[in-house]
């Protein structure tokens, strides 16, 4: 009975660089570590008898829940990265991602207003970048995260070229 949202047909669906997995694991790990430390403060105070009134079960369970979520999302990261894909079709670019929550965005080249290439320190450290396509609509702004820097530059040029060829008014 379960039917999955199908990708539109394309010659070559491309995946992003597997190195993105490392970047995502790292950035996710750092974020969870901070949250874990913050939620562990009452536990430490409780253990050190500074705050004995704080219920022990709460002191243990909150960091435990955070830890469980962190582990689950760490397990999910490789699947999520592998699910990121894009395809340059004849008249449009299609971008899809998602393991449990699927999302598909398709933008005709003529509707592309401009293309951004961004890279944070982590992404740059692994030679990756993030490409974002902007249209006149606030809803349609697909992003492709985890392209190699060279691929990103090539793709941006290609999108700009195709966009100009088919440029349409608003």
């Amino acid at each position: 009975m379960s039917k999955v949202l199908a990708d539109p047909p394309a010659q070559n669906w491309q995946r992003v660089s597997p190195k993105l997995t490392v970047v995502e694991e790292l950035s996710g790990g750092i974020a969870f570590l901070i949250i874990l430390l913050a939620t562990a403060v009452p536990l430490v105070l409780h253990a050190a008898d500074v705050w004995p009134g704080y219920p022990a079960w709460l002191a243990w369970s909150v960091p435990a829940v955070v830890l469980v979520i962190a582990v689950i999302s760490a397990i999910m990261v490789p699947f999520r990265v592998r699910s990121r894909r894009y395809a340059l079709r004849d008249d449009d670019i299609a971008v899809a991602r998602g393991v449990i929550f699927h999302r598909l965005e398709v933008i005709p080249y003529g509707r592309i207003q401009y293309v951004d290439v961004k890279e944070g320190p982590l992404l740059r450290g692994f030679g990756l970048c993030e490409l974002q396509v902007h249209t006149a609509s606030p809803d349609a702004h697909p992003e492709i995260k985890g392209l190699t820097a060279r691929d990103g530059a090539v793709l941006r040029e290609e999108l700009s070229r195709r966009g100009e060829e088919r440029l349409a008014g608003l």
Partner: protein
Amino acid sequence: MTAPEPTADTVETPWERVHPLTPYVRGWVFLVVMIFGAGRQLLDRAVQGEGVGVELRWIAIITGAVAVVVVLIFWWQWRFTRYRITPTQVQVRRGIVFRSERNARLDRVQSVDIARPLVARILGLSELRFEVADAGQSALKLEYLRAGDAEVLRREILARAAGVQRAAGRGPLAASAGPRDPRQAPDGGGAGTGPTAGFAAGPAAGTAVPADRPAPGTAWDRAPGDGAPGEGTPHDVGALGDAAAPGGAPTSGDGAAQGEHAASGTQGQTAPGATAPEALRADTGRQRLPERGREWAERMAADFSGTDPYGTMAGGTEDETPLVAVPTGRLIGSVILRVIPWLLAGVLGIIALIIWAPPGVFLSAAVPWLAGLLPFVWRGINAGYGFRAATSPDGLRVRHGLTETQHRTVPPGRVQAISVHAPLLWRPFGWVYVQANVAGYGGREDRQDGANSRSVLLPVGTLEDAAQVLTALLPDPGVADPWELVQHGMLAKDAGRFTTTPRRAWWLSPLAWRRQGFLATTTALVLRTGRLGRRLVFVPHARTQGLLASQGWLARLGGVADVAVATTAGPVGTGIPHVAAEVAGELVASQVARAAQAARVEDTNHWGARWDGGAGPEAGDARRHGGDA
């Protein structure tokens, strides 16, 4: 491809100034506060019986000095605000210390509005506002101009923006309604909008619905000064449908007469070099003061009594055809009906408070809450008061407003998405309202009426009224029987021609699953949603920015996905929930293909040009896709 005449480009357009009273319209609050402050000081002293003598002199001197400074600043502000309208651009320069110059390309004008706040109305001024897609953050404003000048400029700008070749000896009207020219009629029929294609024409051909259009409409038709010709024919859908669709070909004699009439009106209007504003200026400039005073008084009286002296608010200027007028009673009724759910919630809250809370709490919560509803009611009535819509060669024109009047023109090619909405409590009355996403309108709030009220193109009306407005916004709906489509779309409970949510996913939207769905016509995607409050949304293929589909795990259990069409920011939502998963993928692929195809065919920057013979190689295609440009 339809660049304005090269000669006009080489001629340097002189800079113009806005009206000298402009700063006062903007700064009147400041002035009032100042006078009030000074007056209160004096009064206080007088009442307390303290000596007014020396202080009075000082206060008078200081007030006088401040007044002089303010007047000087205002005068400088005015001196340094200049604008000009070249054949391709509107340019505004302002600023004394920090100068700014803003240019807007005329071929990117999304809409042209005339707004007249209360103070401006008293002074006989108007603000001209352009929404320009590539100007970014905000609209370009010319504030304030003489009301008559603003009206003339509005026409001029729209004519130029439409890419109408005036050198070819055709006014904007003749151009955009090309098929009115008998010679063009045969191939103008290619607009695909014979009498059967326009929304409103549908009823004329089929049922006799328009015959029993509500009386207010007909009353307006007979209003004095209504320039619409064809007295012999009742001004019903036959005439409306024809003239309504800029792409439509009026084949009746009525239409022809109208064409002539309007053409004569157009001649003067588009005479080269904007002679009309010159004339107006000369008119008011050389008169003596008492005469000007009397004229001002007369105009103001006329303005506030509803018969508009500037042509900005009057019904039926010569080149437009009235479509819909909203009677005040219906407007008030509709606004109250919209508040009723909140009132009910309030009553429930009050009951809860009476039961559980001490009386003091009850009063302090209920009173401000009820009072909070009043501004909502007032805003609705104030904004929608005297609402009238008409079609013109420049697109749909709407006028409304009680204290601040608004006069907006939305060219047909600038509408990104249109919704017809019937809230639950309106349905017994058969009322709907029409909203549209127009690039530049959406997103941000402005002044007391937000983006929402600006995008309302019919605050309340019957389904027939809505069809009239749709005809103007989407002249070529891409189906043979648009009126049936609208009726079916709003009234039917079953799927019909629409592809609806599959039965297996009924539990995801137990009320609406039979109704919510989509239908692709040759020019637009039609979305139908809602069971209690009902909505019908049109998104022209040529305006589609992209397609989005998403599917969560619950939706995957039901084997469905949500699909949305991306349009520019605005109040009209363009999503279809719970489309069968296998259909959703196909819909995304085919719809994006249709969008790309439509975008190739259209020259959206000059929507008037394709009727102008100079539309280039795609002219044939453009005509075929005609209206929704």
